[in-house]
Symmetry: C2
Subunit: 251 residues, 2 copies
Amino acid sequence: MLTYAIVNQKGGVGKTTSTINLGAALAEMGKRVLLLDMDPQGSLTAAVGRAATGLTMGDVLLAPESILHAIYPCTGNMHVVTATARLANVFLQLDEIGEPAYQLQKAVHLIGTNFDYCLIDCPPSLSHATTNAMTAADVALVPLQCEFLSLRGLADVQEITASIQETTNRNLRLRVVATMYDKRTLHAQDVLREARRALPGLVYETVIPRTVRLAEAPAVGQTILQYAPDSNGAYAYRALAQEVLQEDQAY
Amino acid sequence: MLTYAIVNQKGGVGKTTSTINLGAALAEMGKRVLLLDMDPQGSLTAAVGRAATGLTMGDVLLAPESILHAIYPCTGNMHVVTATARLANVFLQLDEIGEPAYQLQKAVHLIGTNFDYCLIDCPPSLSHATTNAMTAADVALVPLQCEFLSLRGLADVQEITASIQETTNRNLRLRVVATMYDKRTLHAQDVLREARRALPGLVYETVIPRTVRLAEAPAVGQTILQYAPDSNGAYAYRALAQEVLQEDQAY
Ligand SMILES: Nc1ncnc2c1ncn2[C@@H]1O[C@H](COP(=O)(O)OP(=O)(O)OP(=O)(O)O)[C@@H](O)[C@H]1O
Ligand SMILES: Nc1ncnc2c1ncn2[C@@H]1O[C@H](COP(=O)(O)OP(=O)(O)OP(=O)(O)O)[C@@H](O)[C@H]1O
Ligand SMILES: [Mg+2]
Ligand SMILES: [Mg+2]
């Protein structure tokens, strides 16, 4: 199994949207996909049309072996561990545990043979959620909204990746995917060019276009592949999944 | 002086953009405006083209009287207290102070005669930053991106507003402004209609349109009134400022 932490402390850049739809595209190619919701707001949980019932991510972080009972089937032939607002309190409780950063990694190791991909949606902050996810992951995947205020955040994410590589996860790779790209504006073109210049070889070729279909799909608990299978958004996430698979086969 | 906390734990909904441009429109009408950056990412600080030098918001929270020396002039005839990443550590230190939620309120009280409006930009979380800001504020102003995932967050913000009203700030008012509204999409119309239905009388008449000009202006450290004074975005924030002023005169 390969684990991707979808991270960016800048808000609203397409983390939840990318987790669901990259997952859906990998599942469409026959991969067994597990989604983890590490955001107390539960955007991922809502976007896949689930209410959080039974065991949730909060339980898993306090008792990693409970992950086996916290996994539920969800839309797009995937599985999910959901999140509730209680997760915010669990992060406070983690402060009292020995090495809090490894809780999610312990859980993920228990399910390594059941899935091909595990995608972790993170909240817009550099807190326990993000460090747990990046400690458990093979790849930190950063959605980059093609706008100035989001570009600034890249330096922070690089810094935290370096610190995770030095402490809890030496082999963590950093990858960036451009999202909400509006090819009609010079601004988006400038930002994308700058990101590729600043991070040579780390930015996927695939660029996710800005398309309202991607904002509509979560309202009906569907992936973009179900909601609008022939749309630009669907083709873009399929192309991203192809790139992810090609690169992972090389590792 | 009237204090507005610009809050929403959902990321990327236009908090920073609304803080700067509502501030600029109030300043254009002759009001003395102070902007406070409570986000350790420092989006507001960068967007007004300042580097954080001297005393910053971190210092002010630890020693409220230092606010008098932390205020700097900035773009758009406004003043600003900047933020650095160090602010994230200060929030951790606040845990050790008795009644941490009142630190910003103490600071704001010290400068009440120097300004007409104080606008506070908050990070996308329900942490110390947001509770301090909502404790210090007269109004919690919630930018609502007209999309499904952002609509879900409204219930959380209402809940936290109610808890602040019961504990640290009885007179806090809640107001919502629709942002990134794309009138060509049914989705945006549906979300706006739902928000007005769910929060009767709390959603401003003014709706901020989605316009790339608003994403471009921060890249050159300008407000929308400087960068594109005749644009839809500029007129919308002027209209919002008018509504804010009319309502405040009634109080
Ligand atoms: N490519 C796209 N085109 C248009 N809209 C998009 C696109 N990707 C995401 N969206 C919409 O933009 C908004 C922000 O996306 P999303 O919630 O996935 O970002 P996020 O980074 O997870 O946000 P947060 O920081 O709050 O967790 C959502 O309403 C989503 O539906
Ligand atoms: N009305 C608008 N039309 C188009 N783009 C906008 C509009 N308002 C804001 N933006 C852009 O959308 C992005 C998100 O806005 P902004 O950073 O102000 O949101 P935020 O809520 O402060 O985000 P965060 O949660 O990360 O603090 C920015 O790139 C900004 O320039
Ligand atoms: Mg999200
Ligand atoms: Mg902001």
